[in-house]
């Protein structure tokens, strides 16, 4: 690392911390919304099912960049809201993450076999008991690995917050690039930092996955 760029180490690290924070927040909120939408997907009411499908498909189909733009400029003008880049980025990231999470939740629940429902029902459990004691504990294990994938994907999407001026890792890099006039080295450092963060997360995820297998 050249001394010119190295002098900005603190800016790089702060940027990385902001990236971790906002993507974690979006994963949390997206997980909450995703559980609700995912449960709607398997509801017995057709209207709820369709609503959930529409939600998932719309937010899976619109590019996150377009969502950032829509949240930051669109909502600000349309609702006369002065949304901060942070608020807009959180909303946009949550929308994308929740669409992904709703699929993860649905797949998790559907992975629990029919026989499990039958066995639980035939022991006299109600729907909510079947869910709580038999289906959910199994679904959670299935949901874990793809949730790690959603986190990594959300973390990468958070780079797009740079477009609306939110200073996370990518924007930090772009600012350093403007200040120093050095492109390649700065961008490479940013890329390496993303790689290290995401690869570490995927390693942690893999070890959690092993730990979560039924046989210990």
């Amino acid at each position: 690392m050249s001394p010119t760029v190295g002098a900005f180490w603190y800016v790089f690290l702060t940027g990385a911390a902001v990236t971790l924070w906002i993507s974690w927040l979006a994963l949390l909120l997206g997980g909450l919304v995703g559980v609700i939408v995912g449960m709607m997907r398997i509801s017995k009411w057709v209207a709820l099912r369709w609503l959930a499908v529409a939600y998932t498909e719309v937010f899976r189909s619109i590019p996150p960049l377009v969502l950032f733009f829509g949240c930051f400029y669109g909502l600000s003008y349309a609702l006369q809201l002065d949304l901060s880049p942070f608020a807009a980025a959180t909303v946009a990231l949550t929308a994308t993450a929740s669409a992904l999470m709703s699929e993860v939740v649905r797949a998790g629940i559907e992975s629990v076999t029919h026989g499990q429902w039958q066995a639980a029902y035939s022991s006299g459990m109600r729907y909510d008991q079947v869910f709580r004691y038999v289906v959910w504990p199994q679904a959670i294990r299935v949901m874990l690995p793809p949730s790690i994938g959603v986190y990594i994907s959300t973390l990468k999407d958070s780079s797009l917050a740079s477009i609306i001026g939110y200073v996370e890792l990518t924007k930090s890099g772009l600012l350093i690039r403007e200040t120093t006039g050095i492109s390649f080295e700065v961008l490479l450092i940013i890329a390496v930092m993303y790689f290290v963060i995401n690869y570490s997360i995927s390693l942690v995820g893999a070890s959690l996955e092993r730990k979560f297998k039924y046989v210990h």
Binding site: E57, V66, G74, A191, N198, Y199
Partner: protein, 225 residues
């Protein structure tokens, strides 16, 4: 009070078809090129030789863990600094291809690994040559496994092509930003472009579902239920 007014975008309607075509063209090229990269990558990753296997794995891990936006900047700004000037369209195309190629590699590898060794042995024992074996036995089975993730990845490529707007490629997202900036009809331009992307993605999605139904209709009776 904000008045929703889609008509405010009318002066910008002329360049829109061109922008949509550019999005489609960029996506199409990226799909074709990343399929080629993916096939090659999958062959590397399933090779018996350690070196291609390692290189394939490294390629996949690196590209899957770096945001597409950063890859685009690296190629557009970064390479320019070391003397390689690539224009916006080609930078976006290369970045998209590298990015999607990593996912393609994993999809194809998964498909290849899912075919049990006995299938190869059975085909060989009946005297099939290499190409026949792939054409009649391996590929039809691989396709059944990969068509669904492939459809999702293709949607991902179309969505990813929106990032070309940050380096000035005049595709749909750029149109949205320009129309918004010049009319302050941000919400309208966002919704219009949102609809366009939803239509594009869902068209691919319907194609994927239709492929699934077609495959199911061809499945032997015993394979259903």
């Amino acid at each position: 009070m904000y008045e929703f007014n889609l008509a405010g975008l009318l002066p910008y309607i002329d360049p829109l078809p061109r922008a949509i075509l550019l999005t489609l063209w960029l996506s199409l090229l990226a799909i074709v090129m990343s399929v080629a990269v993916g096939v090659f990558g999958a062959l590397c990753r399933t090779s018996t030789n350690l070196i291609p296997r390692f290189l394939g794995a490294a390629y996949v891990e690196v590209l899957r863990n770096i945001p597409l936006l950063v890859v685009i900047y690296l190629i557009f700004f970064g390479l320019a600094q070391v003397g390689l000037r690539v224009d916006g369209f080609n930078s976006a195309l290369i970045a998209l291809t590298l990015n999607a190629g990593a996912y393609m590699t994993e999809i194809f590898r998964g498909g290849l690994l899912a075919i049990p060794n006995g299938q190869y042995e059975a085909a060989r024992s009946q005297g099939m040559t290499g190409p026949q074996l792939y054409r009649y036995v391996v590929f039809p089975q691989v396709f059944r496994i990969i068509y669904a993730p492939l459809g999702n990845l293709i949607i991902g490529i179309v969505i990813g092509s929106s990032l070309a707007s940050v380096i000035g490629v005049e595709e749909v997202t750029t149109w949205m930003r320009r129309a918004g900036d010049e009319t302050f009809r941000y919400m309208e331009s966002f919704l219009a472009v949102g609809v366009i992307y939803v239509v594009l993605a869902q068209t691919i999605n319907i194609g994927r579902i239709a492929t699934g139904n077609w495959l199911l209709s061809k499945a032997p009776v015993g394979a259903r239920r």
